[in-house]
């Protein structure tokens, strides 16, 4: 039995509080592991009438979890934050809650870290200097950005984008042999350690249509991706490709690999969200702790309207718990 999971609520003006509360309501039918929220109790009360219990320490979560949603309070009471109206105070609170959640997971008081959605624009305005939560968490874990990988996890597909939030036209210059090598090794270790796959198979996509068709539709496969694949094979890793990007994600093909390494954000996200829009989990590989997140944003536009789907949060809790249990058996 692992420690309860720490769930940072994310931006209190977004849908984070609502989906955490809705996930807790479904704890029995969804067979969720004990978890506790971290953030402002008022953010949950503003959108939910269910039982909330303010706890003094994560260890209390196990006792009350089946009767009330446990929450570790972060942030000054009395500050008014309105769902759907992001503000600096809320962004500051999201960051403080994340900081505490990382610390508790780092110290093994929490079994895994699950992070609710934040607004990067809002965080930047309160002095946040990391590109996103993933890089912040990596730094707090003492791991350089190069060594971590973001993996998107759905029920029938795992994808890892080599490049992420950069313009389309900047992608080719960011595809380099060493970078593909480091990402691939991180993914392989993650699949072994967190998913218990002894010898994972990584399928690597091409960048160009038809994977470049022997260079006639682009040379990145010949110049960069194939040399990276050969390098990884020499390390005795089970890596194949480059595959034509449009032929890599159909049902039969998905059964042949454990994860697909993708060259761009949308090459990884289009198939994942096309298949598993409401249940995608964003996972950080290459750090000592287990960290998952629902793969969607703050959705300020629908915050407070009781319209948010907790599916991805539930999936993030389940994947986080399963990985934490596997690590606990090490």
């Amino acid at each position: 039995m692992t420690s309860p999971l720490a769930v940072a609520l994310g931006d209190p003006a977004g849908i984070g509080p609502e989906i955490v509360a809705k996930a807790w309501e479904l704890r029995r039918s969804a067979a969720l592991p004990p978890f506790f929220a971290i953030g402002r109790p008022a953010a949950i009360k503003a959108v939910w009438n269910g039982p909330l219990e303010i706890i003094g320490s994560p260890a209390d979560a196990d006792h009350c979890f089946f009767d009330a949603l446990p929450i570790l309070q972060v942030g000054r009471p009395g500050v008014k934050i309105v769902p759907g109206q992001p503000c600096l105070e809320g962004a500051r609170n999201a960051l403080d809650s994340l900081e505490m959640a990382v610390g508790l997971t780092r110290s093994n008081v929490a079994g895994a870290l699950v992070t609710g959605p934040i607004s990067k624009a809002q965080l930047y305005s309160v002095g946040f200097t990391h590109p996103g939560q993933t890089e912040f968490i990596a730094e707090r874990c003492g791991v350089s950005d190069d060594m971590v990988a973001m993996m998107l996890v759905g029920p029938t597909l795992r994808t890892v984008p080599v490049t992420s939030h950069i313009p389309y036209r900047d992608v080719p210059q960011e595809i380099r042999v060493q970078r593909l090598g480091m990402k691939s090794r991180t993914v392989m270790r993650g699949l072994q350690r967190l998913f218990g796959i002894p010898r994972p198979h990584l399928a690597i996509a091409g960048l160009n249509p038809h994977a470049g068709e022997n260079g006639s539709l682009g040379r990145e496969e010949i110049d960069i991706i194939i040399p990276a694949i050969e390098m990884l094979r020499e390390e005795d890793l089970e890596v194949t490709g480059p595959y034509p990007p449009d032929a890599l994600f159909h049902a039969r093909m998905r059964q042949t690999y454990d994860a697909a390494l993708c060259m761009s954000h949308d090459q990884a996200l289009i198939p994942l969200k096309t298949l598993h829009f409401d249940e995608g989990v964003n996972m950080t590989l290459g750090i000592p702790i287990v960290r998952t997140a629902p793969d969607h944003g703050t959705a300020f536009a629908i915050a407070g309207e009781n319209a948010a789907d907790p599916g991805a949060m539930i999936a993030a809790l389940r994947v986080g718990a399963a990985c934490a249990e596997r690590i606990g058996q090490e």
Copy 2:
């Protein structure tokens, strides 16, 4: 009742002959319209033992279709073409068959044109100078390349790539306001004429992750795609976007539009093939005739092994017949 469909076999060394024969076998259960093959009878006999009837004119197809696969013979008998072994004679035959099939459809002797897979590399070696079958057919119909659009059709999704077989890095320079406008108008007219949708809704994807996030992840949306959308709206066309590419193709979203205009080959093909790998139809819009094709290649590697799936050929026949019938009612 429309005229029978003309089915060019494609490269005789590929899987074209096999999937046409297998489709004919399923004519009753799949409720297929009468069609006739065009090409070398020997190419079908090499992979299939069923009844084949050489016809003298397309009008004969209707009579024999339910008892035998009708074929209009093109090509010298006696030439040996081996499945899986492409050769110049086979490429020449594929081109001659295509030429005849286009002519018969242009003259309304055939109700629609369905083209089997060809090898571009093989065709180039016999002097073919068009980028692909689509451009060849457009020229034979007297329509410039700019005015045609390739639409991929699956049971729950239609996508149109604005750019196609070019390297990834060349895509941004090919995205221009006027080009988006012409492609969109062609798609709108095609959806009205061929699919009977009085006022089609076209969803236009962004190029960059998150559709550029207000310019912070790329400017093509602001500089090109949004101006094109505004231009089309002023023409009273129902066009929306730009959408984040990864949020455009999940089940709920697909119900909100009739076709998605995509910026690149893989942006259009990844969702289509992820969802509908064995039943994707490639369709040419903007020409006077109906033309469909299975959305896969020659698959030389499995030709002659009785391993090819006729699903996409069956889908191409059905879509072609439905569109031909709609045009016939004009």
